[in-house]
């Protein structure tokens, strides 16, 4: 709270400091939209033959019935797949994954988890991810790859038999697909909660700065 006035240099310096580049923001929101479609239609499909002793409430499903849920799922998959592939390629090619997500060390994660739980984790520089963020963001990318692979295995178990084998057998691929969905939902809850606790991170994902 030193001064309310800012110099021209300071303005320029802040302006140039883009936290989230445009491609990250666009792909992030496209992915969010595609994910919601995939999850809601996926719950519809799950309800047709539940793996566990529960069904998802009909209010939170997409498609009206199994046939509609499948149509939504197999339409939104394109958005998810193309956007996801573009994100992976750009993330590796620009070095963003390496720069932002690595290294991830056990001691770093432990330290930041402790700091976060005691509300001592600083968010002064949003361009640098803390260890909890690195772990969660890297982890969710792996889960994203797994859910797509298990989904493809279930979609074309004859054509993509080697993918089915990767998961063991067809029923196993269903369980992998389900647990990846559960992991994504858990991530979503934490992710949204933390974004609301640190609103400037949400702003950065919308306007970039």
């Amino acid at each position: 709270m030193a001064s309310l006035t800012v110099t021209d240099e300071q303005v320029r310096a802040t302006k140039s400091k883009v936290i989230q580049p445009a491609w990250v923001r666009v792909m992030h929101w496209v992915n969010a939209f595609a994910m919601i479609l995939m999850i809601l239609s996926g719950w519809q499909i799950y309800n047709a033959s539940p793996l566990f002793d529960f069904r998802f409430p009909r209010e939170y499903t997409l498609g009206g019935w199994l046939g509609g849920g499948l149509l939504w799922h197999f339409a939104a998959m394109w958005l998810l797949m193309i956007n996801g592939l573009a994100y992976l390629v750009t993330g590796f090619a620009t070095g963003r994954f390496r720069k932002k997500l690595l290294p991830i060390t056990a001691s770093g994660v432990l330290h930041d988890v402790r700091a976060a739980l005691t509300f001592k984790l600083g968010h002064d520089d949003l361009t640098v991810y803390n260890y909890v963020q690195r772990l969660l963001y890297a982890g969710i990318i792996v889960v994203g790859v797994l859910i797509v692979l298990s989904g493809l295995a279930m979609w074309k178990p004859v054509q993509l038999y080697y993918l089915v084998m990767l998961f063991g057998d067809y029923p196993a691929a269903r369980y992998v697909h389900f647990f990846c969905m559960a992991a994504i939902c858990a991530f979503l809850v934490i992710h949204v909660l933390l974004a609301l606790l640190v609103p400037k991170s949400l702003r950065a994902m919308i306007i970039g700065r």
Binding site: E59, K156, V158, Y170
Partner: protein, 260 residues
Amino acid sequence: MAKRPFLIPGVDKRLLIKDSIKTMPDVTRRRFIAGGASLGALTLLTGCDVVDSSSAEEMLKSVSKFNDAVQAFIFNPDALAPTFPESAITKPFPFNAYYDLDDAPDISAADWKLEVRGLVDNKKSWTLEELYKLPQVTQITRHICVEGWSAIGSWTGTPMRDFLKLIGADTRAKYVWFQCADKDGYNSPLDMRSALHPQTQMTFKYANEILPRAYGFPMKIRVPTKLGFKNPKYVVSMEVTNDYKGGYWEDQGYNSFSGS
């Protein structure tokens, strides 16, 4: 659509839907694809109401057709379904239909004949006795239902492509269309390429025993490269045709290719 609990314990949801569909006028006698779902969040996000929108339905149908074209382009239609050892067979193999087992067709072998129609040289009908004399093969493959469950079973019968050759079918035709004895008249089209697939079978036996009533006596069509609903049971006729004649589930919105 009102938001009330859809599932009533002990009531088969498919029967429930079927009954309610019967009370609807013909034009609306199809299942709603975009309807029924509460899409509050989605409506807020997109600013448009997709719930009752027929344009959403049209969009989804075109994507589904696009998916068919992509599959036809990248996949090998002759790829073989994996086979399993006898020890992998699911016991008991589930009975599955849109009706109870008690309502399954109870066909008398003596009265039954397989009717052959359409683009074939020999349109003679076949008795079960005549069909049993054709060479048979056994396959142990995984049956995968559109609902997601699956089960491994052992099916024995005559390869479809051998029978099509025997009756002089025009294999350049687009479909083989099956009609069945199920109540409300089950039927399903099979694209010719899949009908000629080496594993596509006119099945007469399950687990080396005459096909029981539960699994489609006297004849089912086993297509291990397709979802279960493309494997008709209680078949009474087959027609080789260039016309897409629709099918029981296909007409309600399941993708007609539904290849695995």
